[in-house]
């Protein structure tokens, strides 16, 4: 018996060693990607504005755009990326097993995930947070006025716990009406079963479109939890992590410097040294990362700057109609801030 359990332990250790030795093998993501000829990017199985299909079945969205940006940086061609739709459960396993090279799957950057799962977050491409949607006729403009409200939400999620914490902290009465699926919760809110519907703010805007009269509802500006969403890479491959990190920073820097997909070619002759460095006219910032010096030029030419991807996918002109809010540049009172290219 003793013998058997020892053998079993050895077996487990060997299996674990096999699993974790993958990390060491995966250190050369860039050369693997280059050899393969395309990047493999893990996205959601459909989230409006972040990764969803258009009528032709092409992937579009903010998360999709960051994947395209990385492909543009590596290959100079934003189409050299393939998307793997992943469920929330399998996303980290897929990243670790090398099935995908990066994740852009509206994944919240939390300490546990960053430190305990063997993955690294490279930045925040969308600052999300839990919010509330209410009927306009209630005349509520601040979530602190929700005392005594009944809340429709999803069962057993952190959403439910966050709401409970928030109401208790502010000494407000509340009643939670939880549903198994988001569609049920929205339908219940639509029929007037609850006063408010609560989930991540970006999703509130998407769910609002499914209501009978979207115009009769408002998303309150207050946010009660921090949900910074960003791209994720395997831990231990810093070069690849840098490329993904700076692909996002390049888009934010481009917005700050006024470089867009339309004017990027004329901007190449601009005298501003910050723009010249960004577009690879001066310096060797690309080759330092192991890619070409016009990496950022390729990103902006094909995908656009951060403002362009935001407005195209979730902004005011889209059905979602989300305002920049905290996702505005730091110069405009938001949180999007990129270190300089120099």
């Amino acid at each position: 018996m003793k013998m058997l359990s020892y053998k079993f332990r050895v077996f487990v250790v060997v299996i674990c060693a096999c699993v974790f030795s993958q990390g060491a093998v995966a250190a050369e993501t860039l050369s693997i990607v280059k050899k393969r000829g395309h990047m493999q990017c893990g996205v959601s199985q459909g989230l409006p504005g972040f990764s969803n299909p258009d009528d032709k079945g092409n992937w579009v969205g903010m998360d999709v755009d960051i994947c395209r940006a990385v492909a543009a940086a590596v290959f100079g061609d934003d189409t050299k990326v393939k998307f793997t739709p992943l469920s929330a459960k399998e996303r980290f396993t897929a990243l670790q097993s090398g099935e995908v090279d990066m994740l852009a799957r509206n994944t919240t950057w939390s300490m546990h995930r960053d430190t305990a799962l063997g993955v690294d977050f490279t930045g925040v491409n969308y600052y999300d947070g839990q919010g509330f949607m209410v009927r306009k006729e209630l005349g509520i403009t601040n979530s602190l006025e929700l005392d005594g409200a009944s809340l429709c939400t999803n069962l057993g999620t952190t959403t439910e716990l966050n709401a409970a914490d928030y109401f208790r902290t502010n000494n407000m009465e509340y009643e939670i009406v939880a549903f198994e699926k988001a569609d049920e919760a929205v339908a219940a809110y639509n029929t007037g079963r609850c006063d408010a519907y609560t989930t991540d703010q970006s999703a509130l805007y998407a769910q609002r479109l499914k209501l009978t009269e979207p115009g009769a509802h408002i998303v309150l500006p207050q946010i009660i939890s921090k949900e910074p969403l960003g791209p994720v890479v395997r831990q231990g491959d810093n070069q690849w992590g840098d490329i993904v990190r700076w692909s996002h920073f390049a888009m934010v820097n481009a917005e700050e410097l006024g470089v867009t997909s339309k004017n990027v070619d004329t901007m190449k002759t601009n005298k501003n040294p910050a723009i010249r460095r960004l577009l690879g006219v001066d310096g060797t910032f690309g080759t330092n990362m192991g890619i070409s010096n016009d990496w950022a030029y390729n990103i902006i030419r094909t995908v656009g700057n951060y403002a362009e991807t935001f407005e195209r996918n979730v902004g005011k002109s889209t059905p979602l109609g989300i305002a920049r809010g905290v996702n505005a540049l730091w110069t405009q009172g938001g949180l999007q801030y990129a270190p300089p290219v120099r």
């Binding site: 093998v25 199985q45 258009d54 092409n58 479109l209 499914k210 209501l211």
Partner: protein, 368 residues
């Protein structure tokens, strides 16, 4: 002497024949029946009215985005189905290449229909076409990369194409595998018996989701780096093994219903094990369990929707996937989508079910 002739029989009372008689016997026999009939008719008329209102009168039929489906009283949002139909059938299969999928569908139908009609000639050529030529043909056409066809990766497949590929492969693989497992489980050779027993009990004791999840997520962790075989292929194998375990138990039910006398009679004629099984036992056993077999097929067909869990988009998966397109988000979009997907599944399952009844009647030689 006058010959006695009976008076011609009077016709049955008008109230006992024809529609009136039928209705009196079946619908209005007792006060309770009258009440139920009235209640039932009112319910059917009400339900029919609601459905017609929803599907036709209040529905939208044309439009390019969600604004077409935002009337104050909105029924079905058919433009959504119209705009996405190509996606629902082919998934992300390149548009220029969909003729290949159509050709595969067409040849499948052309091979299957004469196979299913008992009076159609050339059965053995037909079997060769379906089991020998067709799988190779479908594989080459769908994946491409040969004969100048553009390669199409299975990650781009989706919709009805994936549903049919998974279901047909599962159905085609599960019957022979199931028969072998059922025979193996009743075998006198202990190694074969215990292997089959273990296989059946393990796969039957684990949910299909777990099998798929293991196949798609865990397997790559144990394979050496760089070895990564196709996700759809992994799912096909998982589904085939899973359904063959179920099929084995259905077939075993048929085998156990065969009286011992049949085996003894076969032995008395000098038939060996394989001849007994092939000529005497299986034809009788399979005939007995046709309802069970078709039941498993139908269950398998609907279980294909579970491949969504590993990131493959079958018909239902891709319909749900397209709900997330914000330019089509309306209160009616997902209802319309589910009704569409349900209708397609129903057509396939109902067809299988009717064919199984037809086969049962044709093959039943006794107990009539």
């Amino acid at each position: 002497m006058a010959e006695w002739t009976p008076k011609p029989a009077r016709p049955a009372p008008a109230s006992t024949v024809g529609f009136v008689g039928w209705a009196r016997r079946n619908l209005f026999a007792t006060p309770g029946d009258v009440a139920l009939t009235l209640f039932g008719s009112v319910f059917i008329i009400w339900l029919g009215g609601v459905l017609i209102d929803w599907a036709f009168i209040n529905a939208s039929f044309s439009g390019d985005d969600r604004t077409a489906c935002l009337k104050p009283v909105q029924g079905a949002c058919w433009p959504f189905i119209d705009a996405k139909l190509g996606q629902f059938i082919y998934g992300r299969y390149p548009e220029a290449e969909t003729w290949r999928v159509n050709l595969v569908f067409f040849f499948g139908l052309a091979g299957l229909v004469p196979m299913l009609v008992p009076s159609a000639p050339f059965k053995s050529a037909n079997i060769f076409f379906l089991l020998g030529f067709y799988p190779v043909f479908a594989f080459v056409m769908l994946t491409g990369g040969m004969f100048g066809l553009v390669p199409v990766e299975t990650t781009d497949w989706g919709g009805l194409l994936v549903t049919l590929v998974v279901a047909v492969t599962g159905i085609a693989a599960s019957l022979p595998l199931g028969i072998l497992l059922a025979l193996g489980r009743r075998s006198k050779l202990p190694i074969i018996r215990y292997f089959c027993l273990g296989f059946i009990e393990i796969f039957r004791g684990v949910p299909l989701i777990t099998v798929l999840f293991m196949a798609s997520v865990m397997l790559p962790l144990f394979l050496p780096d760089g070895v990564n075989f196709d996700k759809l292929m992994r799912c096909l194998i998982g589904v085939a093994l899973f359904s063959s375990a179920y099929m084995a138990e259905v077939v075993r039910g048929g085998l156990q219903a065969i009286p011992k006398g049949q085996y003894e009679a076969a032995a008395a004629l000098g038939l060996g094990y394989w001849k007994t099984t092939r000529l005497i036992i299986l034809p009788q056993a399979l005939k007995l369990v046709i309802p069970g077999i078709v039941n498993t097929f139908i269950g398998l067909f609907k279980d294909t929707t579970l491949v969504l869990i590993v990131g493959l988009f079958d018909l239902l998966g891709i319909v749900q996937f397209h709900f997330t397109d914000a330019s089509w988000a309306t209160p009616e979009t997902h209802i319309t989508g589910y009704v569409f997907a349900g209708a397609v599944f129903w057509v396939f399952c109902f067809a299988m079910s009717r064919y199984s009844i037809f086969m049962e009647n044709r093959l039943s030689t006794d107990r009539q």
